[in-house]
Amino acid sequence: MNSALVPEAPTGNSEPDQRRPTDWTTGASRRRTRRRYAAERRFRLMGLAAVWLSVGFLAFLLMSMLWQGASGFVETRITLPIALQLDITPDRVVVRGADLALAGAGIEGAVDAAATAAYGAGGAELLSDGAWLHVRDAVEADPTLLNRRAMIDVSAAADIDVAAKGEGTPAAEAQVAKLAAAGALSRGFNLKFLTDADSTDSTRVGIWGAFKGSLMTMIVTLALAFPVGVFAALYLEEYAPKNRWTDLIEVSINNLAAVPSIIFGLLGLAVFLGTFHLPRSAPLVGGLTLALMTMPVIVIAGRNAIKGVPPSIRDAALAVGASPVQVVFHHVLPLALPGILTGTIIGMARALGETAPLLMIGMRAFIAAPPDRITDPATVLPVQIFLWSDEVNRGFVEKTSAAIIVLLLFLLAMNGFAIYLRNRFETRW
């Protein structure tokens, strides 16, 4: 319709091309436009699908961990009728050394005997290796148990526990059915999972050992990486002259931030263990290795934060006669600190989840006791997860996922704190 309104091009142009204006109303043109809009919708849909699938992966990952791990915090208990006949006086179980005294008096054998008495031959097999510890704790809490018959709930053996949660072997399922029929099964929160260390029996494992190891490693990492990272960032951003050395430092830092973590493990193995003969598997070495890995992250975040402090503040401080060092330590650093801290927390969160370099420096040993010093052999949460994931026993599956939940909760808390810091202290200049 519009073509009628369009006058011919004036002849003043010496153009070879005297095409008539495009008619947008023809069928072909309309079809083409429809096709183009269809392509537009398809493309947009693809984008939306990509976003939702990616978010879906995350949701699926978290859900499957939650699903499998939730039961790791729950233990199956068997009610054990027991009448202890121990050669020990009640006053000895309320003082220091009661643990040893009860063990010496043969409480473990007494529990096994009670299980056999209650559930027939093989009854002791139904109980966890750590069942007698429950009885011991119960006795210490209530010494009258030494002299009377009582019903005490103790942890079930790994295969019974697994069967009670619906994944067991037929034989174990049958036993569970029998116990359930007798009303001897119950469930409870597995507190020992949060307070104990590694064990070979899946019903006795705990993450406290690994958690403490992680904590010590992180303290070493933070103590080294934070000051060095902040100082390096201050130097590069505030004082470094523009020369080849500075360039070399910058290139080093940027490359270190992208070096695969396992290479840092090799460095730790060759230098800290090989050359300096530091103890294997120790949080000290783990912390040193992770500090080297975290330092570039802190430097890069620190430099960005320092860059964000406007030059006018520096000028103002210089103008009242502050020295360059005073300008930085009195004005720039405090203003940049929230940004630096945010970067540090993110770097620390990465270090907390790191596994590969720690395997290299020997942190994959079976450690059944929490470390007391930073030179003691230890393991850390992600390595513990790795070790448990390798276990054949079905009972370890839920424990692995449960440990993952704990690790993820901590990472979430750290990242949440970083976001809070950023929002709380972010200044717009």
Partner: protein, 253 residues
């Protein structure tokens, strides 16, 4: 006077709660060049961008009033914005050639709109458009060079060639010479003269001499209002409104 090509009636534009254009009515005929002048921030560019709905790309922008292209409401739901922009082309303040070859820059429009069916046809359009933009002789031997490698003035003429390659009915020019040197500016102005008649042209400019040189009619905008609209010769020699007089005599702006 011939039937108006573009008719705008009581157009107001809002960015969020701020009113950038207040109740502007204007019409542009097929064979003329209309210039929009006014101080910075007076809304002339905003108004120009409503004419091919480029304001759609700003999420907070809202347009009230009616704008017709050949009697068709361009803000009507049935209006296809893709075809609208093919019919109302635009040249921007800063030359913005795509980071592709010169040839591909010009061929882009005909390709996406499916205007040609054979390579030869496309070659013809590219050559014709470049010729019409006065750039052919300068670039015919290096059509495969990147469009961004040209000088500023050449880039802007390439953008004009790109706009006319889809054979629009109207060309909007948003301060097309503000980033160019005087020689390149002169070339663009010459080009506008040659394009006049074949395309209705609306040009926004900061430069009053330029408005006087290239346009037949001029609209003076101030603070979102259309203060005065009339023959260019009248506006510059005998302005009716006080504000127009102040502006063209350089009291402010």
């Amino acid at each position: 006077m011939t039937t108006p090509k573009i008719t705008a009636r009581n157009v107001s534009v809002y960015y969020g709660a701020t009113r950038a254009i207040d109740d502007v009515s204007i019409d542009v005929t097929q064979d003329e060049v209309v210039a929009f002048i006014g101080p910075s921030g007076c809304g002339k560019s905003t108004f120009l961008r409503t004419l091919n709905r480029m304001n759609d790309t700003v999420p907070s922008a809202r347009v009230e009033g009616e704008i017709y292209l050949d009697g068709e409401d361009i803000y009507a739901p049935s209006m296809d914005v893709v075809q609208l922009r093919a019919r109302v082309g635009m040249v921007f303040q800063k030359p913005n050639p795509f980071p592709k070859s010169i040839y591909e820059n010009v061929a882009y429009g005909p390709r996406i709109h499916g205007l040609t069916h054979a390579k030869g046809e496309l070659d013809d359009i590219v050559e014709g458009s470049l010729r019409r933009a006065g750039l052919w002789d300068e670039v015919k031997d290096r059509l495969t060079d990147s469009g961004t490698a040209l000088s500023g003035g050449q880039q802007q003429r390439l953008c004009i060639a790109r706009a006319i390659a889809v054979d629009p009915e109207v060309i909007l020019m948003d301060e097309p010479c503000s980033a160019l040197d005087p020689i390149a500016t002169a070339k663009i102005e010459e080009l506008i003269h040659e394009l006049k008649g074949r395309y209705a042209i609306v040009i926004v400019t900061h430069n009053m001499q330029q408005a006087a040189r290239v346009s037949q009619r001029t609209a003076f905008f101030h603070l979102g209002h259309l203060v005065e609209f009339g023959a260019t010769s009248d506006i510059f020699t005998n302005p009716r409104a006080e504000r127009t007089k102040d502006y063209i005599t350089g009291r402010y702006g």
